[in-house]
């Protein structure tokens, strides 16, 4: 059972890795700063969230399971803030 869950976790992490790859492609290929910003914010919030989710079956304690989500929450908060600030600056 736990083996199966871990395999499932690996799949979810792989989906997260795909999100990171998509974000990079967007960052490299999109034509202007604002659309690149759009690619970045989607990729890093979703990618890290999927990684945190996929790591759940590997955790051996509750704290170990929750800590990745705390890191994710911090990235969401600061990512949302800095995206706004960068966009404000880029539009000027």
């Amino acid at each position: 059972m736990s083996m199966l869950l871990q395999l499932l976790g690996l799949l979810v992490i792989a989906a997260g890795a795909a999100c990171f790859a998509l974000g990079t492609i967007g960052l490299l290929r999109f034509p202007d700063t604002l659309s690149r910003l759009h690619a970045l914010t989607k990729a890093d919030s979703l990618g890290l969230g999927l990684v945190a989710l996929g790591l759940l079956p590997f955790a051996e304690s509750l704290g170990e399971a929750l800590l990745p989500f705390l890191a994710w929450g911090l990235v969401l908060l600061s990512g949302a803030t800095t995206a706004q600030l960068i966009a404000e600056r880029a539009r000027r």
Binding site: A14, L27, D44, E64, L74, S78, T82, R89, R92
Partner: protein
């Protein structure tokens, strides 16, 4: 399992590492910063996966510290740019 996790970590790092190209190219400072931010988030992901794969204590905390300070570096960038005024 650990090997599979390490491989995924390498994949994520390779993906965000390619973003270094945007750090090199720019053109706007904001573009460079965005690539650095993606690298930071990818680094957090890699550390979290390493923590699960190697079971070494403290790696999750390292990821937390990166998450806390990464956003601050971006804020410092925007404020520094404001201090500098319009170019």
């Amino acid at each position: 399992m650990a090997e599979a996790l390490l491989l995924l970590a390498a994949l994520i790092l390779a993906a965000v590492g390619l973003g270094l190209w945007r750090v090199l190219r720019g053109p706007d400072p904001a573009d460079r910063l965005m690539a650095a931010q993606l690298l930071s988030t990818g680094g957090i992901a890699v550390l979290l996966i390493l923590a699960a794969a190697t079971r070494a204590a403290g790696l999750q905390e390292t990821a937390l510290v990166l998450a806390l300070l990464g956003g601050l570096v971006s804020v410092a960038f925007v404020l520094a740019a404001r201090l500098a005024g319009p170019r």
